[in-house]
Amino acid sequence: MNILLIEDDREAADYLKRGLVECGHQVTHADNGDDGLQMALQKTYDVLLIDRILPRRDGLSIIGMLRADGNLTPALILSALGEVDDRVKGLKAGGDDYLVKPFAFSELLARLEALVRRSQPRNSLGQYQVADLVLDLNTHLVTRSGKRIRLRPREFHLLEFFMRHKDQVITRTMLLEQIWGYRFDPQTNVIDVHISRLRIKIDKDFSKPLLHTVRGTGYKLSETP
């Protein structure tokens, strides 16, 4: 990924840059709003990582200017402010995702990837397929190696989401947001319980597991762990 990081806190910027580079991404850094906006306008990036409050130009204003200019590069807003309304404002201004400091680096990485990587296409039959696991959106049937797997509606949504984001790490909060539509931390393992149920249904009777736990981060549906 080619990332433009606009962050005025030098230490935070350094460690974010280092982490992202070590994960194989290119990072360009701007330490104020004006420079950030100029850089975003001059070059094309895969994703913008923008601090909410910046010297010279506010993060939301940068996104607003870019969107007004027709620049649709996905943007993730970082914020120290945790108020609910702030997130709404950020998303209204044209941000694509919002993360409140302090956050886990793995959470940031997962969300950046989700913003950049395109959803898996469906095949000509309107199905998602990962290895021998097939989910049919028209018939709502799920099969693995031709064997029918019965899922509850929520499990079906979960699996559909994982298949659409094949090979991507999905965090628990992302699941809670995307599948249940909630923006809060349940502070408990409810999501894991749902995942383990789904896993039993799609992996238990088969030799090759597809739904993997990514330690300390979340889950990933993939042919390779």
Binding site: G82, E83, V84, D85, Y182, D185, Q187
Partner: protein, 475 residues
């Protein structure tokens, strides 16, 4: 703080202003009264003047010049005391009798006109010192048959009625102003005394005694209302401060252990020169875990504080409680099942309230999580939404150990954990967050005995069933 000077109180200032205005109006009124009285007295005076001079002419006609001279001599002494002037003069103006030393030239006109008119009397022709300066007095003059002349003049000042009137006006004016001043100062003093008690209490509070309150009088007047309001405000501030202090203490206590753990782990790690990569990785992973705990605690504290202070300006919209309860129930069902519990969710359809879906979801989650965590295997946990005459209730009931009745209030406070054995995890912020969210929604959090177990109830006094516009149902 310096005590207020009486002159600086708004009441006294205002009264002084009004006193001045009042004085001006009163003066105007008195002036009109005085002038109209003057005109009346003038007319009376002229009448008396005319009748007196006619009487004197009669004395001459009946008794002759000598008798007139005697009469005037008699009148003279009384006149000198009261400002009346008489003059009997010969044909050429030479004075014969009276208290004027010279026939005024102007008086000749009066003889011709037979009228009463004001003439000037010089200071030096007036005998006696009734007038110190020249006087302009109404006068009448007659020519007697033997060509000698008679003049009578008297000033209005000698009129008793007028003297009395102006005297009275002066006195009553002074009394009225004095009364106004007295009234304003008493009023100011009374108000100042009431304000001073508030002031004093404020000073005492500022010097550190937060428990001080403004004493109330039994009058139930606006000052008492104000004082009561201020006292309520002080109660609230004191409460917030106390809970802040508790929170600070508790945060310090709660964060001390993970921070100490991190520090010690790192220190031990550095004690030996060489360690396996495995050991380093393990230590770092543990450190991340501890850091996560710290962050979680901080976030929870922050969120509770925001909800508490009402500064978490969450966007409120129409929330479909039925749907929320159904979904949260469904979210927790597998966890409850794994914990070996009989879990059921029941809800009435179409119950809507104004609120924030995420916050309410968090509140229900926390209560449900507690219920599942504390209820032993084979127990029962239920999540219900029912509407009663008193509103819409979300009820989370379990068959766990419950909460002793006397602890119902305390568990809402931050960092309070009833289980002192340390067996259960959690930061003790869950219920305080629920309480804060519920209060932010204008709802109430109630606890009840489930015999056995706990019934936690979130009660919304107001709800809408089947709103006309369902446009803003929760996401």
């Amino acid at each position: 703080m310096k005590p207020h000077s009486l002159l600086k109180t708004s009441v006294v200032r205002m009264s002084l202003r009004y006193t001045l205005l009042y004085a001006l109006l009163l003066a105007l009124l008195y002036a009109v009264l005085y002038l109209s009285s003057l005109r009346y007295i003038d007319a009376q005076l002229e009448e008396r003047l005319a009748s007196e001079i006619d009487a004197l002419v009669d004395v001459y006609n009946v008794s002759g010049l000598d008798e007139l001279r005697m009469t005037i001599e008699n009148l003279k002494s009384e006149g000198m005391e009261q400002g009346r002037f008489y003059l009997l003069a010969e044909k050429d103006g030479l004075p014969v009798a009276g208290n004027l030393t010279k026939w005024p030239h102007e008086a000749n006109v009066l003889i011709d006109s037979q009228d009463i008119q004001n003439i000037w009397l010089d200071d030096d022709i007036m005998i006696g010192d009734f007038y110190i300066n020249d006087a302009y007095l109404p006068a009448a003059a007659r020519k007697l048959p033997d060509d000698s002349r008679l003049l009578v003049a008297y000033g209005i000042e000698q009129d008793n009625l007028l003297r009395e009137l102006s005297e009275n006006l002066k006195e009553s004016f002074g009394a009225a102003i004095l009364f106004m001043l007295l009234l304003s100062f008493t009023l100011g003093k009374a108000i100042l005394r009431r304000v001073e008690t508030i002031n004093q209490t404020a000073s005492e509070i500022m010097s550190g005694d937060l428990s001080r309150r403004i004493p109330l009088s039994k009058r139930h007047d606006e000052f008492d209302h104000l004082a009561q309001r201020l006292n309520e405000m002080l109660d609230r501030i004191e409460g917030v401060l106390r809970s802040m202090r508790d929170v600070t203490d508790n945060i310090a206590h709660d964060l001390k252990s993970p921070i100490t753990r991190i520090r010690n782990r790192m220190e031990v790690l550095l004690l030996q020169e060489q360690r396996t990569e495995e050991e380093y990785r393990e230590a770092l992973a543990q450190t991340i875990k501890d850091a996560d705990f710290i962050i979680k605690t901080f976030n929870a504290v922050l969120q509770t504080a925001q909800a508490d202070a009402g500064t978490m300006y969450a966007e409120f919209s129409l929330v479909d409680l039925s749907r929320l309860v159904r979904e949260v129930g469904e979210l927790f069902a597998p966890s409850a099942e794994d914990a070996g519990l009989d879990f059921r969710t029941e809800h009435q359809e179409s119950v809507f309230i104004k609120g924030n879906c995420d916050l309410l979801g968090q509140a229900i989650c926390n209560l449900l999580d507690n219920a599942i965590k504390f209820t032993p295997r084979n127990g029962q946990v239920s999540l219900e939404l029912v509407t009663t005459s008193s509103g819409a209730d979300i009820i989370i009931a379990d068959t766990g150990p419950g909460i002793p009745t006397h602890e119902y209030e305390r568990v809402r406070q931050r960092f309070v954990r009833l289980d002192t054995s340390g067996q259960t995890t959690g930061n003790g912020l869950g219920l305080s967050l629920v309480d804060a969210i519920v209060r932010q929604h204008g709802a109430s959090l109630l606890f009840d005995d489930n015999n056995p177990g706990l019934r936690a109830i979130i009660r919304f006094a107001e709800f809408v069933s089947n709103p006309a516009n369902k446009a803003t149902s929760p996401a």
